[in-house]
């Protein structure tokens, strides 16, 4: 795959939730090496967009092409080796160790007859270590705190080892140190050139610091492009319907609510 072929090519997407139209005519191209953040107020369609890009739901119109294949006509087991999704909420009804949950991320790499091998366990332990959760491996996920559970879910996504990672508010429940650590790890992965990530975030300052590209959803419109070009005072203020200021502190832009 050459650098010019996008990993993900979504064209002319229209998304609805019930009868409400969230986004119309959205096109988005994500290449390897890019870290996109999706910004927007509550109900602007961030989760719906991520689920559509992950092909766990169909768009009202438009199409999503992942690594050259239309996702509507690609079997789920093939999709699962190309993209992974971190959902916003995980509800655990049954006990399982954190390691077992992370090992589920290896599911797409196995046929129905095989059991997890040493390689799977190595990948799973590495993934737990990457989110500072190595010590949680043997713990029962139903006894973990919200932030710990979130880190285990992120580790499961990392263990899936997919080119495209879609994450719905991965920083939710995480403390400051783990927010930064997790985003640094994702940025490192993406910069290695093999991966891309699309992340729904609420924190504008984290988005500005870690993302190479941004997609701002709001009031039915979508603006996408390089972070410094898209995350302007006027675009963000219009999307969030609240005045925002952008100030320069050292090397970085900081966003301040008026």
């Amino acid at each position: 795959m050459t650098a010019t072929t996008p990993l993900l090519d979504a064209s002319d997407l229209t998304l609805r939730a019930g009868t409400r139209e969230l986004v119309r005519g959205l096109s988005l191209r994500v290449h390897s090496g890019e870290l996109w953040c999706v910004l927007g107020p509550n109900g602007s369609g961030k989760t719906t967009l991520l689920h559509t890009l992950a092909a766990v739901r169909a768009p009202s119109s438009g199409r999503v092409v992942l690594m050259g294949c239309d996702v509507a006509h690609t079997p789920p087991e093939q999709l699962a080796r190309r993209r992974g999704l971190l959902t916003q909420t995980v509800h655990d009804s049954f006990a399982a160790s954190a390691l077992e949950v992370v090992l589920l991320g290896r599911h797409p790499h196995h046929d129905r007859w095989s059991f997890d091998d040493d390689e799977d366990r190595r990948v799973a332990h590495d993934a737990l270590a990457a989110v500072d959760a190595a010590t949680l491996a043997a713990r029962d996920v139903t006894t973990l705190s919200g932030g710990e559970r979130q880190r285990v879910a992120i580790a499961a996504l990392l263990a899936q080892c997919v080119p495209l990672m879609l994450l719905d508010e991965p920083t939710a429940h995480l403390d400051l140190k783990h927010q930064i650590g997790m985003l640094e790890h994702l940025r490192g992965l993406v910069r290695s050139g093999e991966h891309a990530a699309v992340i729904a975030l609420h924190d504008l300052n984290l988005a500005a610091r870690f993302a190479s590209h941004a997609l701002v959803l709001g009031a039915g419109s979508a603006v996408g492009g390089r972070t410094d070009e898209v995350m302007t005072e006027s675009t963000l203020s219009a999307a969030f319907e609240y005045p925002l200021r952008r100030v320069r502190v050292g090397e970085r832009w900081l966003y301040v609510v008026e």
């Binding site: 689920h51 766990v56 169909a58 789920p76 992974g84 509800h91 049954f94 599911h107 129905r112």
Partner: protein, 331 residues
Amino acid sequence: MARALRIWLLLALLAAAALALALSLGSQAIATPDLLRALLHRDDGVDAQIVHELRLPRALAAFGTGGLLALAGALMQVLLRNPLADPYVMGASGGAAVGALTAMLCGLGAAFTQGAAFGGALASTALVFALARREFAGAALADPGLGAPRLLLAGVMLAALWTALVTLLLTLSPEARIRGMLFWLAGDLSAGSGGAAALAVLALLVVAVWPLGRSLNVMLRGPVMALSLGVHVVALRRVLFVLASLATAVAMTSSGAVGFVGLVVPHALRLAIGNDQRVLLPACALAGGSLLLLADTAARTAMAPQQLPVGLVTALLGVPTFLALLLGRAR
């Protein structure tokens, strides 16, 4: 895999021990050496006759039924992602009860009663499927968290309807038939028939669900997670529903509505051996069969010559065992 084989072997030994116990205990106790001879030589006196004509058919029916109920319970719990689901949660027991009691009220024989129970269970299950068909369509997945609750509620409501009809049938029945009806409702194996069919279906189902085990493990973490990990969630949910319903219907044909086996056995095994469905499902078949076999042996010997409905024994054994496991773990 080696661990799974060890667990299955242990449970198979338990099953063999339960079978030996069931065949030797009764109004005429048979010692172990005599038991072996009686098993091998069909025409060798009274002992052989008792074993072959009375105890063995009933033991096989108990084992097959128990295995089917435990397997159905485990599958329903995965389908609904609800640890409190049991084989009857979709109203299958109510449908079977309405069928069986109607046959009894009309004075039809045992074969008709069994057929009516099987038909009633399947009809009730088909009705739930039709009512909740949207939950088995792809669109339900677009709305994560939906699906299972509505399916569950449709089943619960239908079960309430069947309960009302059962009350009506009991009210209409002449006194002489009520006792048989109550035994059926509590779960009773004294007919001792249908064992071969139950065992054959049990074996087929274990072989059919085992290759799905990996996907079922992923399904436990929710439909969206399963879909993003490449599981054919819609198709798998349908398959689960059909297999669990079939297991329940066949089980109820030989035993009526035996409670607790389908809830307690999968739970107890999960606490003891973990929740990998590839290990758990065959283990459920073995342990469920053994439990019901032991319970039935107790039911016919504890207050002999009075026979108790086996459902009473499973409740008396199952509830304290389950509570002990549950509270022991919480400590």
